[in-house]
C-alpha cells in the first residue's frame, strides 16, 4: 500500500496535499539547502535524512523534525538522498536551521566532500596545531590553536 501511495506522490505532485495527514510513512521529504560561501552543494533539494555534528551533540534530521537552530562543530555531515545514496561532507563550522515547514538550511563556512581529504595532510595539520598550542603565549593565540586542533582532529577522524 505504501508503494501505491508513493507512486501517487510521484505522479500527482501538488495533489498530495490532501493525502498528507495519513502518517509518518507519508511525511513529505524535507527540502535541504546546504551551501558554503563559495559553493552550493544542495539547493532546495528534497532529501531523506541529514546527520549533522553540532555543539549540542550529533543528531540526525528527518522530515518533520522539531524546528531548531544549532551551531556546527568540525565534523562530517552525511546526507541520505531520496534515491538511497549517501554523501559525506566535512564541514569546518557553521549553522543549521530547521524550520516549521521542514526546510533545512545548512550553512557551512567550508564544506568539502570527504573523499577529497588527504589523511597525511590532516595528520600534519594536527601536529602543527599541537606545536602551535605548546608555543602559544596569549589567550587569543591559545584559543586559535585549540580551534585548529579541534578541526584537524575531526579531519583525521573523517579520513579514517
Amino acid at each position: 500500500m505504501a508503494l501505491t501511495r508513493s507512486a501517487l506522490r510521484l505522479f500527482s505532485g501538488r495533489f498530495t496535499q490532501a493525502c498528507q495527514v495519513r502518517g509518518y510513512a507519508d511525511a513529505p521529504s524535507m527540502s535541504l539547502t546546504f551551501a558554503a560561501p563559495s559553493q552550493v552543494l544542495y539547493n532546495n533539494i528534497s532529501v531523506k535524512q541529514i546527520d549533522v555534528p553540532s555543539f549540542s551533540g550529533s543528531f540526525g534530521i528527518l522530515p518533520a523534525h522539531v524546528p531548531t537552530l544549532a551551531v556546527l562543530k568540525p565534523g562530517v555531515v552525511t546526507v541520505f538522498e531520496n534515491d538511497g545514496s549517501t554523501k559525506k561532507f566535512f564541514v569546518s563550522s557553521g549553522t543549521v536551521t530547521i524550520n516549521e515547514d521542514s526546510t533545512v538550511q545548512l550553512l557551512a563556512e567550508e564544506a568539502v566532500p570527504v573523499d577529497t581529504l588527504d589523511i597525511s595532510a590532516a595528520k600534519e595539520l594536527l601536529a602543527q596545531s599541537q606545536s602551535q598550542l605548546a608555543s602559544a603565549s596569549s589567550e587569543v593565540a591559545k584559543a586559535e590553536a585549540e580551534i585548529s586542533i579541534e578541526v584537524s582532529e575531526a579531519l583525521v577522524k573523517a579520513c579514517e
Binding site: 539547502t33 551551501a35 558554503a36 560561501p37 563559495s38 559553493q39 552550493v40 539547493n43 532546495n44 549540542s56 522539531v66 524546528p67 531548531t68 537552530l69 544549532a70 551551531v71 563550522s93 557553521g94 549553522t95 536551521t97 524550520n99 516549521e100 515547514d101 526546510t103 538550511q105 545548512l106 550553512l107 563556512e109
Partner: protein
C-alpha cells in the same frame, strides 16, 4: 593676426585631440578590465546566492521583527573604494542620508571609502566605523567575518538594523536594496521562536553572529557584481562620448588646417598679383 590665431588654434586643437584619444584608450581598457572582473564576480555570486538566501530564511520563517527598544538604528552601507562606476555609491549615500534625516539616532558602519566621502561632510558624527581596502580583490568569507567581528566587539547596540547594498539584476541594471538585521533580543522575542526547540542564549548569540558575517558576505558579493557591471557600462559610455568628441575635433582640425592653407595661398597670390600690377 588672423593667421597667427589660425596656427595657434591648430596647435591647441591637435593637443586636445591627442588628449581625448588617450582618454578613450584608457576608458576602453578600463571597460575590458571591468568586463573580466564582472564575469568572475557574477560566477562567484551565483555560487554565493543559495548561501545568502539560506542565511535569511530563519528570520523570515521565525517571523522576527525589529525590537521595540530605543537603542537606535544600525545601518551597514556596503560600497567600495573605487569610483568611475556610475550611480553605485551615490545611490547608497543618498538613501543613508534620507534615513539619518528621518532617524537621527542612527549609527552607520561604512564599508568602502566612497560612501564615507559622501557622508563625511554632514553626518560625520553618525559614522561608527569605516572599512577600507575594499574592492581591489574579490571578497572572501574571511573579510566579511573580520568586519562582523569588529562590529560585534565594538559593542554597538541597536534596536533595528539593515544592510544597504546594490543587488545585482542584469548587466545593465542593479537595485539598491536593504536586508534587515536583527539584534539578539529581537530574535529572542520573535513570535515563532517558541516553536524552535532547545534554544539557549549561547546558541542564539552564535547563530546571530555567524549570520551577520554570512549576510555581510552575501551583500558584498552582490555589490561587487553590481559595481563591476556598472563600471563596464560607464566606461563604455565614456569611450563612445570620447569617440564622438574625437570625430568633432578631427572635423574642426581639418577645417582649420584647410582655412590656414587657403589664407596662405591668398596672401601669396595677392602678393604675386600686386607685384605683377606694379610691373
Amino acid at each position: 593676426s588672423q593667421q597667427v590665431r589660425g596656427m595657434a588654434t591648430l596647435k591647441m586643437i591637435s593637443i586636445r585631440l591627442k588628449s581625448v584619444k588617450n582618454i578613450q584608450k584608457i576608458t576602453q581598457s578600463m571597460k575590458m578590465v571591468s568586463a573580466a572582473k564582472y564575469t568572475k564576480a557574477e560566477r562567484e555570486l551565483k555560487l554565493a546566492r543559495p548561501y545568502g538566501i539560506g542565511a535569511q530564511e530563519f528570520y523570515k520563517k521565525a517571523e522576527v521583527k525589529d525590537e521595540e527598544g530605543e537603542k537606535g538604528q544600525l545601518i551597514i552601507a556596503v560600497s567600495s573604494d573605487r569610483g568611475l562606476c556610475g550611480a553605485v555609491h551615490s545611490s547608497i549615500g543618498r538613501i543613508v542620508k534620507t534615513d539619518i534625516a528621518a532617524n537621527p539616532n542612527t549609527k552607520v558602519v561604512i564599508v568602502g571609502d566612497k560612501v564615507r566621502n559622501i557622508l563625511q561632510r554632514l553626518y560625520a558624527k553618525n559614522i561608527a566605523m569605516v572599512v577600507t581596502e575594499v574592492g581591489r580583490k574579490p571578497a572572501v568569507f574571511g573579510d566579511a567575518a573580520l568586519v562582523a567581528q569588529s562590529i560585534i566587539s565594538s559593542g554597538i547596540e541597536f534596536s533595528k538594523g539593515k544592510i544597504l547594498f546594490n543587488a545585482f539584476r542584469t548587466v545593465v541594471s542593479f537595485r539598491t536594496t536593504e536586508m534587515p538585521l536583527y539584534s539578539q533580543d529581537a530574535v529572542a522575542n520573535a513570535s515563532k521562536l517558541p516553536v524552535y526547540d532547545s534554544l539557549d542564549s549561547d546558541v542564539i548569540q552564535s547563530y546571530t553572529e555567524f549570520s551577520l558575517a554570512s549576510l555581510l558576505f552575501y551583500s558584498m558579493k552582490e555589490n561587487a557584481t553590481s559595481e563591476q557591471s556598472s563600471r563596464m557600462t560607464a566606461m563604455d559610455n565614456a569611450s563612445k562620448n570620447a569617440g564622438e568628441m574625437i570625430d568633432k575635433l578631427t572635423m574642426t582640425f581639418n577645417r582649420t588646417r584647410q582655412a590656414v592653407i587657403t589664407r596662405e595661398l591668398i596672401e601669396i597670390i595677392s602678393g604675386a598679383a600686386a607685384l605683377e600690377t606694379k610691373n
